[in-house]
Point group: C2
Chain length 175, copies 2
């Protein structure tokens, strides 16, 4: 079966700070023409940081698009040209104040492949040392230590609903 | 600690078919002013459909934003004013040809709360009956039966990277 869709024309309809949006005319696999609206984003990194075998570092952060303070694992955007293997270390330290001496890549996820190219690289961080946090300008957050069993309970009962956090738990702890 | 950010002004920078994009001036929790770019999306539904205790229905679908044919659980956008409890039934039948007599809600996820308000409602569907698929106009996809153990292996080895699929497996099967 043929699935591919071919780009015919592309128009940048928004060129912003953290994303661009394009509207493309495409030829669908069935030969018909249609439009696709695509958000282009730099992607990011997600860190499952284990303080010990039962304790995970979480952060609480206000997420403006959903108007909620979200309990999630440390994560952040890739900077221009930045390698994910470096970004994960930067983000963990910025958001929690910890450095880790053991890093294990857990692959990547696509958060919304229907309309967005965002790709998040997941990592497990272990053997942690506290060096003091220094969040990004304008980033107000709290780092919190939680029992892994509590995090899993909160995922199950719907108190944790952040997709990247669920994915990191699944890839890093539950498979 | 105060986390909230207050909207000062809002400008719609793109008003499209499946999304709108707004650029808001906000007052951060620390009192400073900044901008937030937000993608507004209608959200959708995600279905973990179990044919039996060991078999799950998956779909293969080309995802234009990432230029890949993606192996994922059945899912789709909410139509204007549509209830997720109805949309999950519609999407399962459209994409796989199956109806289910047992539905269990698995809560929701936020796919990218840093810049997008997309919310996906997850469901487990059981007691399936085949009635014949009829995909959306322009939606070219294949429904595939897979062993749950194979799906988990593919999540682990990085062949399945779709966030909503990982979240559905975690909420519905792995916790």
């Amino acid at each position: 079966m043929k699935y591919e869709e071919k780009k015919l024309t592309s128009e940048c309809v928004y060129d912003g700070r953290i994303m661009t949006v394009e509207k493309d005319e495409v030829e669908l696999a069935n030969g018909r023409k249609s439009f696709r609206e695509v958000v282009r984003h730099s992607g990011g990194v997600v860190v499952l940081a284990l303080k010990d075998a039962e304790t995970i570092l979480m952060v609480k952060q206000f997420r403006y698009p959903i108007s909620e303070t979200v309990l999630e694992v440390p994560a952040g955007k890739l900077e221009k040209g930045e390698n994910p293997d470096d970004a994960c270390k930067r983000e963990l330290e910025e958001e929690t104040g910890y450095q880790a001496s053991k890093w294990t890549p857990l692959g990547y996820i696509n958060t919304s492949p229907g309309f967005c190219d965002e790709k998040l690289y997941l990592y497990k961080a272990e053997n942690l040392t506290f060096v003091g946090e220094h969040p990004d300008e304008g980033e107000i957050l709290s780092a919190i230590e939680m029992k892994i069993s509590d995090v899993k309970d909160k995922i199950k009962n719907g108190e944790i609903n952040d997709a990247k956090t669920l994915c990191a738990i699944l890839r890093g702890l539950s498979l």
